[in-house]
Point group: D2
Chain length 137, copies 4
């Protein structure tokens, strides 16, 4: 498994009148987590799209353990539990400044060839970057 | 089961550079659906909060069947499959203008007494408004 | 001058922890206003883009008279004060349910040929649709 | 004058189908800029609100010089041009990774006593933190 931590500070625009982070903002936090997890492997999602591959989301699941609060520095822990094939799963744990788990979730993404609009397998560069974390004997 | 349809037009602000509705905007669409589903029963979520009850989301699941596009008039079909007790489940189906199912999902919400911060059962007014749709015999 | 009213209901996702509509959401409301103002003239912004013309925003100004509140049905009054040339100005007044002016603003947009990336004049179809409102003697 | 630079990376959720940062996202970037500018002075906006003072926005102006792009590390340069009195002005310049000015703007904020809902003067702690930058001889 590959794991990566990234941090972001919650914004006023992301709160709602309950005084919490609005529940619909977590998928954008996931995106920050997975983009930075890929960047740490040398993979730029922006460059992936420039090369003609996009990764739309097929499914998403969110569990709200505790509310997120304004101006907290959250830690997004992103896990890639398997080598991607036609699909790629990301799992997320979000911790507040007190290191409490406030949120968990996962997303299933796929790979689409932007020229043809058709699904494709994970690009070789991505599989190669991740392979060392999944070396089986 | 109780079901209600509401419509909304996708906004430019909700698209992303794939040219689709950004995946993180669907939870806000769910919220529009469930608020209008409640309003059609005579229940105002705004008034519920004024009366001291809020409904935070505990879990959310989203399935992306087809992309949402800019400026489409979407139909959000909201189902309430059970009478609420300590929790309340909403299910959503989202159709595009061609009546294709482009998205489905569900959310599980709970009831919180805003004064004490503690969980509570669904308010009587909500159970009474929904009861006729769940008359078992 | 051409004017058009459109209505939208504020969403929970648009509130912030002050309990008001977040100040950064008004430009998206402007967009709803101007798109519906154009639609009422038979002009679809979505089709304009499909025809290869986009309208990026050059400048925007916002004045916050009173807070917007959750679940209010707002009226967005959009004015087009002049026939568009290389630029197009939209002015907005936003009223709450009590018909109080809560917000005003304007945006200056331009026309870009999406193939060349270069500025262009307002498309003829737009000038023709608007001309009757600016008939000078 | 007091000035402060903060950086943020544009998110996919902030792009629109033009492939640019949606024009309505800049006010949230301003907020990041001014909150960090205040934090660098030892002033926490979150704590200010906890102490019963909020700072709603009265006016906002935005000028779009060049498009913001996905995944760019933007620099938000925030200027406080005057000591705050009943109002407080912030000015912003936003630079892309190539140090090009892509955006400029300003906001005028005010101070509200959250208990009474009435306007008030800038809190002493804020005036004191800023005074050294405005020492006139």
């Amino acid at each position: 498994m590959y794991s990566h931590d990234t941090q972001l500070r919650t914004r006023y625009s992301e709160t709602d009148q309950m005084g919490y982070v609005y529940y619909g903002n977590y998928p954008a936090y996931y995106e920050c987590g997975r983009v930075e997890a890929m960047r740490a492997l040398g993979l730029s999602y922006a460059k992936l799209e420039e090369s003609g591959v996009m990764m739309p989301v097929l499914e998403s699941y969110s569990k709200y353990h505790k509310p997120g609060k304004y101006d907290e520095q959250l830690t997004i822990r992103t896990h890639i539990p398997q080598l991607p094939t036609a699909r790629m799963r990301f799992e997320y744990e979000i911790f507040n400044e007190g290191q409490e788990l406030i949120h968990s979730g996962w997303t299933m993404l796929t790979f689409v060839n932007m020229e043809t609009g058709r699904p494709m397998r994970a690009p070789a560069v991505m599989r190669e970057a991740l392979a060392p974390y999944f070396d089986e004997k």
